[in-house]
C-alpha cells in the first residue's frame, strides 16, 4: 500500500493536497498519525522559547545614525551656502536685466509658470530618494521663489500697469527658478545651472 510522502503531508497541512492524499489520509491510520505528528512538530516549533540578545546593539545603531547625520549636515552646509549665494545673486542683479515689456510677455511667463507648477505638483518629492545636495538646492530654490512671490503679492494693483516691466521681470525670474527646481527635483541633478 502506498503511503503519503512528506510532500503530501505538507500539502495536506497547507490545504493544497491532491484528492488522493486527502482520501488516503482519512483512511490510513499510519498516514493519519504522520500528519498529526507534523502538526505537533510545527506547534512545538512555534512554541520554542524566545531568545533575547545578550548584548545591547542600540548604542552601535545610534552612533552610526549620528555619524551619518553629522556627515550629511556638513555636506548640506557647504551646498546650502553655495545655492543660497547663487539665488541671492540672481535676485540682486535682476535690475540690470532687460526684457520686452508688454502684456503678451506677461501672459507668456505666467503661462510658463503655471505649466511648471503643474509639473511640480505631479512630482511627489516625499516618495523619492533625494541626496542631501539636491535637497539643499531645492530648498534654496524654493526660498528664492517664495521671495519673488512675496514681492509679487506686495505690488500695488494700481501701479501694476505703470510697473509692468518690473512685473514681467519678476515673473520671468520666477519661471527661471521654477525651471531649475523642476530640473533639480526630477533629474535630481547636483548642478542646476545656478
Amino acid at each position: 500500500m502506498m503511503h503519503c510522502t512528506m510532500e503530501d503531508l505538507l500539502a495536506l497541512q497547507g490545504g493544497e493536497a491532491s484528492v488522493w492524499a486527502r482520501e488516503h489520509v482519512a483512511a490510513c491510520a499510519t498516514c493519519g498519525a504522520e500528519l498529526e505528528a507534523l502538526y505537533q512538530r510545527v506547534a512545538q516549533l512555534k512554541a520554542l522559547p524566545t531568545r533575547r540578545p545578550g548584548r545591547d546593539r542600540w548604542p552601535a545603531v545610534r552612533d552610526a545614525v549620528l555619524t551619518a547625520r553629522r556627515r550629511r549636515r556638513e555636506r548640506w552646509g557647504v551646498w546650502s551656502v553655495a545655492a543660497a549665494a547663487a539665488v541671492a545673486a540672481l535676485l540682486v542683479f535682476r535690475p540690470f536685466w532687460t526684457t520686452s515689456v508688454d502684456a503678451a510677455d506677461l501672459a507668456r511667463v505666467k503661462a510658463q509658470s503655471a505649466t511648471l507648477e503643474q509639473q511640480l505638483r505631479r512630482y511627489d518629492p516625499d516618495g523619492q530618494v533625494t541626496s542631501g545636495r539636491s535637497a539643499a538646492l531645492c530648498a534654496a530654490l524654493e526660498d528664492g521663489i517664495a521671495v519673488i512671490d512675496g514681492e509679487l503679492a506686495q505690488l500695488d494693483p494700481n501701479q501694476v500697469q505703470a510697473r509692468s516691466a518690473e512685473l514681467v521681470q519678476l515673473w520671468q525670474q520666477r519661471v527661471d527658478l521654477m525651471q531649475q527646481l523642476v530640473s533639480a527635483r526630477v533629474t535630481r541633478a547636483a548642478y542646476v545651472g545656478l
Binding site: T5, M6, E7, L9, L10, A37, L38, R41, V42, Q44, L45, K46, L48, P49, T50, R51, R52, P53, G54, R55, R57, W58, A60, V61, R62, A64, V65, L66, R69, D126
Partner: protein, 184 residues
Amino acid sequence: MFFRRMTISLAVPDVLVARAKAGDLEALEALYRAFETPVYNLALRVLRRPEDAEDVLQETFLEVVRSIKQYRGEGHLWGWIRQIAASKALMRIRREQVRQTEELYEESVAGVGGGAGVALGVDLERAFERLSETARAVVWLHDVEGYTHEEIAEQMGKTVSFSKSQLARAHTRLRWMLDEGVAR
C-alpha cells in the same frame, strides 16, 4: 531586568512611527526596543550563532532607520521589519556560504544515528539546530513566521519548488532525528 520580563508586544502607536519617520532618535530607539527580541530570535533561529544574530539585528535596524520613510503604513510594521531581518539573515547565509560545511555536518549526524538505535528523549530545538542553515531558514519562515513558499522563494532568489523540497526534506530529517533520539 524589567524589560526582559515584559510580554513582547508588536503593536506600535502610529505617532511613534511618525516621530521615527521624522528622525526622532528617541522614537527610533523605542522601535528598536519593541522589535529587538523578535528580530534577534528570527536571526538566531536561522543562523544559530548569537554573534551572527546580533549582527543581523544591528544591520536590520540600520536599514530600518535608513528606510523608515518608505514604510507607508500598509500592513503591520513588524511585517515590514521582519522582511528586512529575514533578508539580512538570508544574505548572511549566502555571503558566508557555510551551507556546504553544514551539509557535511548533517550527513555525519545521519551516519552516526543510523545504527545507534532509539535513544531516549525528544528535543525538537536541538534537532532543528542540526538542520542546515538553508533548511532552518525555510522551516522557520514557513512554519513559524507564516511565509508562503512564494515569499520564501522570492527572498532566497530560488524557485517555489526549491522551498517546498527544502521544507519536506527538513521535516523528514526532523522526524528521523526525533524518532532516533539523535537530537538528544
